[in-house]
């Protein structure tokens, strides 16, 4: 009984995070493509928010995302700005795709093909 209660509680506590993730994914699928890449940062603000909420949970994630939105102003030169590392550990091969996409492995320069 208590086991069921705990898992139900965990689910309810995790709901805001899931809702936020759902909202962000929908935004990135529907709204973002409308005006193309316009962010002065990498990852873009919505990708940042999605990763933050995925990795840090709802409260901290939303906090990080709002701080990023404030940083995204005309007086900021932009650049690469990653989500701070979180404590959440994902099982091998189950890393959420947004985390993978936001941290691409940069190939070394000597891998580049000779100029054609």
């Amino acid at each position: 009984m208590s086991r069921v209660a705990i898992s139900v509680l965990a689910f309810v506590v995790g709901l805001p995070r899931l809702a936020a993730i759902g909202f962000l994914i929908a935004y990135r699928k529907v709204v973002s493509p409308l005006y193309g890449p316009v962010c002065r940062f990498y990852p873009s603000c919505s990708a940042y928010a999605l990763e933050a909420v995925t990795v840090h949970g709802f409260v901290r994630g939303v906090w990080f995302a709002s701080r990023r939105l404030v940083r995204c102003n005309p007086w900021n030169d932009g650049g690469v700005d990653h989500v701070p590392a979180g404590s959440r550990v994902f099982p091998d091969g189950k890393t959420p795709s947004i985390v993978v996409l936001n941290h691409p492995v940069i190939p070394a320069d000597d891998e580049s093909r000779p100029a054609a």
């Binding site: 890449p37 316009v38 962010c39 002065r40 940062f41 990498y42 990852p43 005309p74 030169d77 932009g78 650049g79 690469v80 990653h82 701070p84 590392a85 091998d92 091969g93 890393t95 795709s97 985390v99 993978v100 996409l101 936001n102 941290h103 691409p104 492995v105 940069i106 190939p107 070394a108 320069d109 891998e111 580049s112 093909r113 100029a115 054609a116």
Partner: protein
């Protein structure tokens, strides 16, 4: 429309207030408040204030442009590196490296358009003030900080017998006014000429060889011939007051460009060569130009994800 008006209102107030202050100042100096020349000078004063206030914006814009030019070689290298890699992860990696590159050069294509956007409301407000004088005078209303009396005075003011609020097209037929037509034509020519000279100067003297060969150049050439057309069409429709503003601001742009070409030319352009020669003749040391690539050996700056654990690559699913 209402929403638009609400945004524009404070700008319009500011613009008309500056003009009003200049008018008061010139009147105080002993000029006739009802004279067209006092109002023309007020418009000129307004242009000077606005353009002077926009100088920092202009400098920022130049910096952004120079930065974009300076990073072109690096950008091409990057495109070469990711050539043919079209999977999502590679695209992401390329975007990240590109952003790091922009940051390194202190520029960003998404930041470069801001200076242009900032100017828009001012110019639009100014235009609506000058263009709306006639109607406001008829209706006896105020415009921004201009009282109904000032508006009427402005509307009645003339230079060389041409009312400031009359247009080229409105001066034919029954209310034929030769001086409006002649003045409009002169100002359209002045406007076009200053614009043309500015563009020609930039293209002939202040572009690096690299930029000369870019597709951007073709666009510039088209602009060179389209803008006079725009001035021509706009010029016959707009009142003399707007034309005064437009001509003055174009002449300001020309002077500003002359200064830039002489004192801070684009690296790698003929103007930069002339600048270096002038300095050498005077025995002055060479200086680093704005947006010039530093000659020190470039350190390979592969952006390391700072303080971030390396994410494992997504494994291919077995089919």
């Amino acid at each position: 429309m209402d929403f638009f008006e609400t945004i524009l209102a404070p700008f319009r107030w500011l613009v008309s207030w500056i003009m009003f202050m200049f008018h008061e100042g010139f009147t105080f100096l002993g000029m006739d408040p009802a004279s067209g020349w006092t109002w023309v000078l007020s418009i000129v004063g307004l242009v000077v204030v606005i353009r002077a206030a926009l100088i920092p914006v202009f400098v920022k814009q130049i910096k952004a442009q120079r930065g974009m030019q300076a990073l072109q070689p690096d950008l091409r290298k990057l495109q070469q590196k990711y050539k043919g890699k079209t999977d999502q992860l590679s695209r992401q990696a390329m975007t990240q490296e590109q952003m790091a590159l922009y940051k390194k050069h202190g520029t960003n294509p998404f930041a470069a358009c801001l200076p242009i956007l900032i100017q828009m409301p001012f110019f639009f407000a100014l235009f609506t003030v000058l263009n709306g004088i006639s109607r406001a005078s008829e209706e006896g209303t105020e415009i921004g900080a201009l009282s109904p009396e000032s508006v009427r005075q402005f509307d009645d003011a003339t230079i060389f017998g041409a009312p400031l609020s009359s247009t080229f097209l409105g001066s034919f037929g029954a209310n034929w006014n030769a001086s409006v037509v002649i003045l409009s034509v002169i100002m359209i020519i002045a406007m076009t000429a200053s614009q043309f000279i500015t563009q020609k100067q930039i293209m002939a003297k202040n572009m690096s060889e690299e930029a000369m060969q870019s597709p951007f150049m073709r666009q510039q050439k088209i602009m060179l011939y389209i803008l006079p057309l725009v001035f021509g069409i706009g010029g016959i429709n707009f009142p003399i007051g707007v034309l005064v503003y437009w001509t003055t601001t174009n002449i300001w742009t020309m002077a500003q460009q002359f200064y830039v070409i002489r004192r801070m030319p684009t690296p790698g352009s003929p103007a930069a060569k002339a600048f270096a020669e002038r300095r050498a003749k005077k025995g002055l040391p060479t200086v680093q130009l704005l947006g010039e690539r530093k000659t020190e050996p470039a350190i390979e700056a592969v952006p390391e994800p700072r303080g971030q654990r390396v994410q494992p690559r997504k494994k291919r699913k077995k089919r």
